[in-house]
Symmetry: C2
Subunit: 200 residues, 2 copies
């Protein structure tokens, strides 16, 4: 029987290989070797190479998105929601560096199919951020003059780029906790020293 195990093994191997070489430089035979199956076996589980990439994105990112959504949806306070979002996002990426790298690379493809993917599953993820911001504005704890539609991108972009260094081999200069703290500090209160107001 075609096992779900083998399906997952191929997904994981593909994630690893895509992360290392990028989609176009990854050979099916690389993925097959990594998963310890024959080249042809791949095609018993996936239609083609591109289908593997989309499956990686859908299944692996999908899990993370669902997890964060659930953690957030019952939280009343927008400030806490934001904190949960940052914490979960950063730790998910830290715990799955191969996936993080695939996201960095492949989500920026100009390929039509990838763009379509981005317009669905992924869009709803980023929109989580603007929903949180709007909530905070309704609760009067976030500034009214910030446009959630711009801020959501700035926020996601910041998280994503901060994460990118973690995949850059070498040293990790900052810990997960430190990074989380810093991002939150920055987006809560900004860079300016405020002589009048107390600290956050």
């Amino acid at each position: 029987m075609k096992s779900i195990d083998k399906h997952n093994k191929i997904i994981l191997s593909a994630t690893k290989v895509f992360a290392k070489k990028g989609f176009f430089n990854a050979r099916i035979s690389d993925i097959a070797k990594e998963a310890k199956v024959a080249d042809g076996t791949i095609y018993l589980y996936f239609n083609n190479k591109f289908d593997i990439l989309i499956s990686v994105l859908e299944e692996e990112i999908g899990k993370i998105i669902e997890q964060i959504k659930r953690a957030i949806e019952n939280e009343p306070d927008a400030k806490t929601m934001l904190e949960i979002f940052v914490t979960k996002h950063l730790s998910a990426m830290k715990n799955n560096k191969h996936l993080a790298e695939v996201i960095h690379m492949e989500l920026r493809q100009s390929d039509r199919l990838v763009k379509e993917y981005r317009n669905n599953t992924f869009r709803s993820y980023i929109n989580l951020i603007s929903e949180i911001i709007q909530r905070g504005q309704e609760q009067k704890i976030f500034r009214q003059d910030i446009a959630p539609g711009i801020a959501k991108r700035a926020f996601f972009g910041a998280l994503d780029e901060v994460t990118r260094v973690w995949t850059d081999a070498n040293v990790t200069h900052y810990t997960l906790e430190e990074t989380t703290e810093q991002i939150l500090a920055l987006f809560r209160s900004g860079l300016l020293a405020s002589p009048a107001a107390g600290k956050n």
Copy 2:
């Protein structure tokens, strides 16, 4: 004589084709056709396909980096420096969408040669941001508890992601001015409404 004109024409055509199809899907014949030269002519000006990509990155991004560096270096006030940086970066990307798209895609490649490029020219660009932040901290106008090494990435990531929508075909929801304002507002003072302090 091999003309510098033709070199530039190929660079511009390649930028356009890379932006549309991505490096790996772009064919040399596409670039040649766009530049209205024969396939073989490309090889009189560049060593190989990859060399074209690196030249695009070096020459085109290089210009922008130099321009911003010069605009900033004689400015005494860190807050103004940051403003100049955002303004110049965003307008440069807005004015050269093909290039912006190539940056988004290709700078995230895992290819060794691209990484090497990123580690030189590009690194110094991002470090401009942390230098500005440090300056601001010395001048006591930026908070001391922000780590410039993290903030620089958050900042660049935000700018980069905000820019990405501009290349996503369709509608541009926000103007250049509006986006610039919002990013500055966000990074200066953050999301939190401050009951105590006056507005920025």
